[in-house]
């Protein structure tokens, strides 16, 4: 019999309803897997008691035939989500020990639908990073190993989520994506992940990084699992002023794999210099897979693509510098108060001790570009270029229904390989950031393996609110690619 942790979330759901196993069995198997994989450092907090409690409730509901959509499904929750009574630190020293007296809307919706929580998942500090190396809780190790058994990063910022899903420690996980933080780690670990349209998932109770870009989304073993989780996570929330008041589609029902009559755009500007040939080859293969599923492939142009990253690295730090002003040592988290120091001394000492170097770097950039005399030259200029990037997409969508691109410019890299060069690290998100700036739904699905045997992701970008189209194209790739590779359990 297949180990319970090897089942997809969809199979777990169906197996629970068929009484093949109990929610308790499922929770216990995952709790054991989490304990056995501590070397991966995927969790910041483990909450086996919560997973088991939810399983008990699920078994009771199942027995009465009153199962909810996620009854008995054990999940991991990214540390960026406020979870009531459980440390929610955004992987930062400044929030260590913070136990919210409230629940984020998205995690609350998952639990209300019957899911249990195995623990909080590690991440880059305040979601600022592409490798999970900026976490105050230490680097997460990718379950996949490089050549010569090299330790690799799991991507970031949702690196604990990607590692935990790939290592089969959780049935699925929440992630958040500001400029690629769901898609790039999904690609680095051979799993699927979708960032929905900006406004689909409530941001209430998610630690804010860059509010005009932040969006929650699921990370899971396959496209169906993403569709199942996304349905529970989405929905209008009056507590988030940017939440969209729209009905939530049945995303799972959209998965037919049939793309007849659909046009898939290939953006010529995504052919970036210095990208490994294997990434280009996979991209072409992806186009063939979608053509085989019935789609027509068309060439499109997104002329402002190369300006997306610099635009992002003005807007995101600017918003972050404002959002992170709240960490002042007064209401929650760390306080460093020099003896006989003033209030300002306390602020400065607290923030200097509490924020890691990447977070400080971004706060300083953000403060600089928003400071008197520079606002127009940097921030306003970036918001104008952002409008042009969005216009590029809207014009492209007159010619196509979805866009196909690589997710990341490389496979997972070694731990420490990019830490000394911020710009090289930022380039990891070159293919992900444009869709974020335009608020578009986008997902990564595994497309194949690199020459070194590491997973590579393909990205589908869709029109605003067309998660169904994105998921279905992802599903077509998943079926054609037949990606079954998985990391060998060395931990």
């Amino acid at each position: 019999m297949t180990a319970l942790t090897d089942l997809t979330l969809g199979q777990m759901r169906d197996g629970l309803r068929a009484k093949d196993f109990s929610a308790k069995d499922l929770a216990e198997a995952h709790v054991k897997a989490v304990e056995a994989a501590r070397v991966l450092n995927a969790f910041t907090v483990e909450t086996p008691e919560l997973a088991l409690k939810a399983a008990e409730a699920a078994d009771a509901a199942l027995a009465k035939g009153e199962a909810k959509p996620l009854s008995g499904i054990p999940l991991g929750i990214k540390d960026l989500f406020a979870t009531e009574g459980v440390q929610s630190a955004a992987a930062s020293n400044i929030l260590k020990g913070f136990k919210p007296p409230y629940e984020s809307t998205v995690s609350g919706k998952l639990f209300a639908d019957g899911a249990g929580m195995l623990g909080k998942l590690n991440m880059d500090e305040f979601a600022m990073g592409s490798s999970n190396e900026t976490s105050a809780f230490g680097t997460v190790i990718n379950p996949w190993r490089g050549k010569g058994n090299e330790s690799l990063v799991p991507g970031g910022s949702s690196g604990g989520s990607s590692a935990a899903v790939a290592a089969r420690l959780v049935a699925g996980a929440t992630g958040t994506d500001t400029g690629g933080s769901i898609r790039q780690p999904a690609a680095f670990t051979g799993i699927s992940g979708i960032k929905p349209t900006y406004g689909r998932c409530s941001r209430w109770g998610i630690v804010a990084f860059a509010s005009s870009l932040d969006q929650a989304g699921p990370m899971a073993r396959d496209v169906r699992d993403c569709a199942i989780l996304l349905k529970s996570m989405c929905g209008f929330d009056p507590k988030d002023s940017t939440s969209l008041d729209l009905p939530v589609p049945d995303f799972e029902a959209a998965l037919t794999g049939d793309l007849k009559g659909k046009r898939v755009g290939i953006p010529k500007e995504y052919t970036v210099e210095g990208i490994p040939a294997e990434i280009d080859a996979l991209w072409k293969k992806g186009a063939d897979m979608l053509r085989d599923a019935g789609a027509e492939i068309v060439d499109i142009s997104l002329p402002h693509t190369k300006y997306a990253l610099p635009t992002y690295y003005i807007i995101a730090p600017a918003e972050a510098s404002s959002n992170l002003a709240r960490y002042d040592g007064v209401r929650y988290g760390l306080r460093e108060a020099p003896e006989n120091g003033s209030l300002i001394d306390m602020y400065e000492a607290t923030r200097s001790a509490g924020f890691g170097s990447e977070v400080q770097r971004r706060i300083l950039i953000g403060t600089y570009v928003l400071s008197a005399g520079y606002y127009d030259a940097y921030y306003l200029k970036a918001q104008k270029v952002r409008a042009l990037i969005q216009r590029d997409f809207m014009q492209a969508f007159e010619r196509c229904d979805v866009i196909l691109a690589p997710t990341a410019p490389s496979a997972a890299f070694g731990i420490g390989a990019n830490v000394d060069d911020p710009i090289a690290m930022y380039l990891n998100d070159v293919f992900c950031v444009p869709a974020s700036l335009a608020g578009l739904p986008a997902m990564s699905v595994p497309g194949g393996l690199s020459d070194d045997g590491l997973p590579l992701g393909l990205q589908i970008i869709g029109r605003p609110l067309d998660e169904e189209g994105v998921l279905n194209a992802g599903y077509a790739i998943e079926q054609a690619a037949g990606f079954t590779a998985r990391p060998e359990a060395w931990w």
């Binding site: 610099p310 929650y332 770097r361 911020p422």
Partner: protein
């Protein structure tokens, strides 16, 4: 745009982050590199382009002007590093 250590110190003070001299020199170099890189946006003609305010068109909603929350002083204070007499406590700010 090249940023010097004095500018980094000024910006760090605006951001309320204490930064020592060694680190401000390193940061000056890093910030100069990043700001030099983002200056590529100067190439883009944005004449007549409105800055993007909302990615997905959405109007701010009205709500009833009523109190919907409150009476949870204990919860509000429970994570405070220092709370006294039902308030957040900070170093003295008036002489």
């Amino acid at each position: 745009m090249s940023v010097d250590a004095a500018t980094v110190k000024r910006v760090a003070h605006l951001a309320r982050i204490k930064i020592d001299d060694d680190r401000s020199a390193v940061m000056a170099e890093e910030l100069s590199k990043i700001l030099g890189w983002v200056e590529m946006l100067g190439e883009v003609n944005t004449d007549g382009v409105e800055p993007l305010a909302a990615v997905i068109p959405n109007t701010l909603r009205w709500r009833e002007d009523v109190v919907t929350d409150g009476g949870i002083q204990d919860k509000v204070l429970q994570n405070a590093p220092k709370a006294e007499y039902g308030f957040f406590a900070v170093p003295k700010v008036i002489e």
